[in-house]
């Protein structure tokens, strides 16, 4: 009985709390019939170049969806014909749609059917510039092949690039070879001779001069004819420069169940179903900061009688919604102009990468990997050309080759050189004889020069990239000492860049014992000394190491990011970055190496002698890695139907990798360029010219004060300077050299320009 009493007392005590103490509060809450929380997604932060040009932003995108649950079988034909009238859809698309609508399935379980994504409305699907209204332009559309034909212009010249049009063989139509526009005024398609559908465009892109129909307006005006359809809009991530910096920016993707799983079991899910997360590149690295914080709006429905109750508004006001915090805007160090130059310079290359970093700070000025891809299509946007990254799988477009490890070839020779000098294995004047080969351990190691270089000292060996000299060094140093020195110089370690990067591999004897069948063999040290065999490094790593060589041995920390922008567009203060580390190398050694690198570009007999920038002195090193491979089995399988493409691929893969890494100005480097051309041929012929173009363009915009002196020095040095004198050449103290004030540097310009000015517009539009 006592227990019963106690229990009832507990109940009453609770009642006193609920009704007596908390009653007033509950009464208030109870007057609100329902409190709902609505998530409001925070806009993802923009990514901007160093001059404030927007590289990634958000755009509203519209799509037309059909709700299969509402579609009755007898309406399918009417729907399809209506869609044919409203949108330019090919017969194949319509047929697929019809099939999908007629498919038997549980109507409750069917997802909305997307008829078309990214309907054209306000922005050009090619370059994302704002479309302008224009007088109606008639166009023709082939319902079979899906081609759009603009009316044939008066002068038979392309309205965009003014090039002369070519007539399409076998049909009545014209075509622009450079921008792939097609023109026809006839009633049938010049390709398949099917009757064309005639429509009118009323929007024009001021940049690429294409005309478009306002598809959203058309659909919206006719939606009452399609009660089964709905117009959906969502915020899309948009990369206006498309192919230009895709590997740096990365792309976003919808969350998966794995993303949604909380970090700890009792935490709520991290993402909503409609969220997107950064998948690669900076979008991934800075995902949390770019995403911002989703807000919560409180939706209150009041119950009838208390509609006008006193204190109601106070109560509603008391229910604080959580404000949406937009994602932070990221300002990059990328110089878009330079990035563009790097892209153009690599246009004849199938695959490769070019990296430009500021030798003083490690800031990445350009990072381009070829072939590139369009992050818009990767982020779920319709490709206006129908061309996607997966069209050229052989060249691995999604792989960022600037941070992917490849055999560094002769660019690695400086490791052996520095190691040998520091360990006093050789002196600069030590000579070895190069007959064109070196016999070691029952194997013949060839020099790249079949005839041999004769008697060479270290400087000449670096200049002409004599392999035999470095075979000797490799033999004298041994693999493990090479590895230790490579590590000291900054190989095999992270460069500090924010995006994912490979670390490269520096094999040791232990590594060979563990990973290679047959274990270690002393010849491996020889191959490693010339950067062949199993040693790998990324172009970015190589650029960083050479920056250190050029700048008194200070290894900079590589970064892509200047910082976050505050709401006023000013940069927020950044956490202090670790300053670069000092190389444990004597300054005399460094001076010697710098001199040798200068000779590579500027001395007759240097491997890059043919590639000298006109406006600045450059020092650097070429590399040619033997990398003949056979196409992978899956690639062979994929290209089985196209023997020509397979042959092209096989031939391409027989070539060597070409490297060039250099810094300029040679005496006080501002920038370091690393160019890697996968299966590109030789470093001197195929990689160095690309670097020269990049360097020239940089110093054309940032004139070097010592330009005149440099030219003089060049003339002076070409008249064969004696070795001793070169060794004594004083290296300018970096502190003493006045830095060029960059008033004209776009990075210093206030970011007040309209941000929706797209410049470069992808491969196709490039004149």
């Amino acid at each position: 009985m006592a227990g019963v009493f106690v229990a009832v007392l507990v109940l009453i005590a609770r009642l006193v709390i609920v009704q007596g103490v908390m009653g007033a509060n509950y009464e208030k809450i109870a007057t609100i019939e329902r409190v709902g929380k609505v998530r409001s997604q925070a806009p993802r932060g923009q990514i901007k170049g160093s001059d404030g040009t927007v590289l990634a932003r958000n755009l509203e995108s519209h799509s037309l969806e059909l709700l299969p649950a509402k579609v009755k079988a007898d309406r399918v034909v009417a729907i399809v014909s209506r869609l044919r009238e409203l949108l330019d859809m090919t017969d194949a698309e319509l047929e697929a749609l019809r099939g999908e609508l007629l498919r038997e399935a549980d109507p409750r379980k069917r997802q909305p059917l997307v008829v078309r994504r990214d309907l054209v409305s306000t922005h050009c699907p090619y370059d994302s510039s704002q479309l302008e209204l224009t007088s109606e332009v008639e166009y023709r559309f082939c319902p079979v092949c899906g081609r759009n034909f603009e009316p044939v212009p008066a002068r038979k010249a392309c309205p965009f690039d003014q090039r002369k049009l070519q007539s399409i063989p076998g049909g009545d139509g014209m075509r622009c070879a450079s921008c792939e526009r097609e023109f026809s005024s006839a009633g049938v398609c010049p390709y398949d001779h099917h009757a064309l559908h005639v429509g009118h465009h009323n929007l024009k892109c001021p940049l690429c001069q294409r005309t478009f129909n306002d598809e959203v307006a058309v659909i919206r005006a006719n939606l009452h004819l399609l009660p089964e359809a709905r117009l959906e809009s969502e915020i899309q991530r948009e990369y206006p420069f498309r192919f230009l910096a895709s590997h740096v920016l990365g792309y976003v993707g919808y969350v998966t169940d794995a993303d949604r799983a909380p970090w700890l079991p009792w935490l709520p899910a991290r993402f909503a179903l409609t969220d997107r997360v950064g998948r690669t590149g900076l979008e991934r690295a800075f995902d949390a900061a770019l995403r911002g914080l989703d807000g919560e709006q409180v939706v209150v429905r009041r119950s009838g009688a208390d509609e006008n109750a006193k204190g109601m508004d106070d109560l509603v006001a008391g229910l604080q919604p959580r404000p949406t915090v937009p994602g932070l805007t990221l300002r990059l160090t990328l110089d878009l102009e330079l990035q563009r130059i790097a892209k153009v310079a690599m246009k004849d290359v199938f695959s490769g990468a070019a990296v430009v970093i500021d030798a003083r700070t490690g800031e990445v000025l350009a990072l381009y990997s070829k072939p590139s891809f369009d992050p818009n299509t990767m982020s779920g946007k319709r490709a206006p050309h129908g061309k996607t990254a997966t069209d050229t799988p052989a060249y691995a477009p999604l792989l960022d080759k600037a941070v992917h490890a490849f055999p560094p070839a002769s660019t690695f020779k400086i490791v052996a050189a520095i190691a040998a000098l520091e360990e006093n294995v050789v002196t600069p004047s030590t000579t070895f004889h190069c007959p064109g080969y070196y016999d070691f351990g029952g194997r013949r190691f060839h020099c790249h020069s079949k005839r041999g270089h004769g008697d060479v000292n270290l400087r000449e060996a670096i200049r002409s990239s004599c392999d035999v000299y470095f075979y000797h060094l490799g033999e004298l140093l041994g693999l493990d000492r090479l590895e230790a020195w490579a590590r000291k110089l900054g190989y095999g370690e992270s460069t500090g860049i924010e995006i994912y990067e490979a670390q490269g591999r520096l094999p040791t004897r232990a590594w060979y014992a563990e990973h290679v069948k047959g274990g270690y063999y002393p010849g491996f040290a020889l191959s490693t000394a010339v950067g062949q065999k199993d040693v790998t490094a990324t172009p970015l790593q190589v650029a960083r190491v050479y920056s250190a060589l050029g700048r008194e041995g200070i290894l900079p920390n590589v970064t892509l990011v200047q910082g976050f922008e505050g709401p006023d567009g000013k940069l927020l203060p950044r956490l202090p970055r670790p300053s670069g580390r000092d190389l444990p190398v004597k300054s005399t050694t460094l001076r010697f190496i710098r001199n040798a690198l200068l000779a590579v570009v500027n001395d007759e007999g240097g491997t890059a002698y043919a590639s000298q920038p006109t406006n600045v002195m450059m020092a650097g090193k070429t590399g040619t890695a033997q990398a003949a491979q056979r196409p992978r089995a899956d690639m062979v399988e994929r290209l089985k139907a196209d023997p020509l493409a397979l042959g092209r691929l096989t031939a391409w893969m027989q070539n060597d990798h070409a490297w060039f890494v250099g810094y300029a100005p040679a005496e006080d480097p501002e920038i370091t360029v690393a160019v890697f051309v996968e299966h590109g041929g030789s470093g001197g012929h195929n990689a160095a010219p690309i670097a020269v173009k990049i360097v020239e363009s940089w110093f054309a915009r940032h004139p070097h004060v010592k330009e005149a002196e440099a030219t003089q020095a060049k003339a002076h040095k070409k008249a064969a300077v004696p070795q001793e004198e070169l060794d004594e050449t004083p290296i300018a103290d970096p502190e003493a050299v006045p830095t060029v004030p960059h008033e004209d540097d776009p990075a210093n310009r206030p970011a007040d320009e309209p941000h929706d000015v797209p410049g470069e517009t992808g491969d196709e539009v490039l004149p």
Binding site: R14, L15, V18, Y26, I29, S303, A305
Partner: protein
């Protein structure tokens, strides 16, 4: 002493007052809920209560020896009905608890509550000399309890099965068991609950309710979000009920106010959450009065148990006390946010013929014992 003279004893009068008071409150409360939601539950409930009061009179006059003879048969019939309900039961709210018999829906599990009390009292009385009980000796009563508990849980109806178990447990403890037995049984029960949790005998929604309650008891913010429109559904039920109870405050609200308040959105306001309706309208004062009625009823039953001359009578009275008390405690605790949401009805106040009939039959047994005891 005539029967009426015995009824005039203060304890019996108090008990009858409590029962009749609860009946009146129940019909009034249901009438209000009906007027609010436009339903007609109070009519059928009135019929059930009238039938139940007649049943009270009948059981009060029954010969206890006859009851003891019949009770095992009733128990077996009810077990059969519980099995039948699993196959032919009517599905209401995703649970098969009701058998359709002509115009009425019968809930055998409710009758099982009084039946288990009868059967156990009978069993213990027959083995009279052996208390305190050892675990080994308790095998038979445990079986008697477990079979209906398992069947009821199968429906699924966790609340009722727990109630049946608690009623029986109260009886066993009243009769006395060895301390060792008690500790052992507790351990077994704890392990059993653990295993049931682990192997999904306890269903997910039940776990969810328990977890929500646990979180709500600690800190409102930590309640797990199941993603269904923000609030957890179970928590949402309990929250709405709590708001309604709280808005009653000390003195209660007028009918007009209550009719348009959050009460409209309290789920199961006729049955499981009937107390929320009452509490909002009558406030703290009314609730204390109501709790007093239940307390009085339980006190009456325990008083009878203490003063009974026969062991069977005492045990039966304890069973009835448990029947009223456990349901009242679990239900009230649930409505005012002390316990997780479990589908247990409030005796008499909640709509439900079988439930009301069971309680009133129990009251009849109490009356029977109290009016009879002096004659022997």
């Amino acid at each position: 002493m005539s029967v009426f003279a015995r009824i005039r004893q203060p304890s019996t009068l108090l008990g009858l007052f409590c029962v009749l008071g609860l009946c009146v409150i129940a019909i009034e409360n249901l009438h209000f809920a009906d007027s609010m939601l436009g339903t007609t539950f109070h009519r059928s409930q009135t019929i059930w209560i009238v039938v139940g009061l007649i049943g009270t009179g009948v059981t009060a006059g029954l010969d206890m020896q006859f009851v003891r003879r019949v009770s095992p048969i009733v128990y077996q019939v009810l077990i059969a009905l519980l099995v039948a309900v699993l196959f032919f039961g009517r599905d209401i709210n995703y649970s098969k608890r009701w058998l359709e018999l002509g115009p009425a829906n019968i809930q055998p599990s409710e009758f099982m509550k009084i039946s288990i009390a009868l059967v156990l009292a009978d069993w213990f009385d027959k083995k009279r000399s052996q208390a305190p009980w050892k675990l080994r000796q308790l095998l038979m009563p445990v079986l008697l309890i477990l079979v209906p508990v398992a069947l009821i849980n199968r429906e699924p109806d966790l609340g009722t099965s727990v109630c049946v178990a608690l009623i029986a447990l109260g009886q066993v403890l009243y009769d006395g068991v060895q301390r060792r037995t008690l500790v052992l049984a507790l351990c077994v029960a704890l392990i059993g609950i653990g295993l049931a949790w682990k192997f999904d005998v306890i269903r997910d929604y039940q776990k969810g309710r328990a977890e929500t309650w646990w979180h709500a008891m600690q800190d409102d913010e930590k309640a797990p979000d199941t993603g269904q429109g923000g609030a957890n559904r179970d928590n949402w039920q309990a929250e709405k009920a709590l708001w309604a109870v709280g808005s009653g405050r000390v003195a209660g609200r007028s009918d007009d106010e209550a009719r348009v308040s959050v009460l409209r959105h309290v789920p199961f306001v006729h049955t499981d959450f009937a107390l929320a309706c009452f509490a909002e309208r009558w406030g703290l004062i009314g609730c204390i009065f109501l709790f007093g009625l239940y307390l009085g009823l339980v006190w009456w039953a325990l008083y009878i148990a203490d003063h009974a001359q026969e062991r069977f009578d005492a045990l039966l009275a304890v069973g009835v006390a448990g029947l009223v008390f456990w349901q009242f405690f679990v239900n009230a605790g649930m409505v005012i946010g002390l316990l997780p949401v479990v589908g247990v009805t409030l005796p008499l106040l909640s709509y439900g013929g079988s439930s009301a009939l069971t309680v009133l039959l129990g009251a009849g047994f109490l009356l029977n014992i109290s009016t009879r005891r002096k004659s022997r």
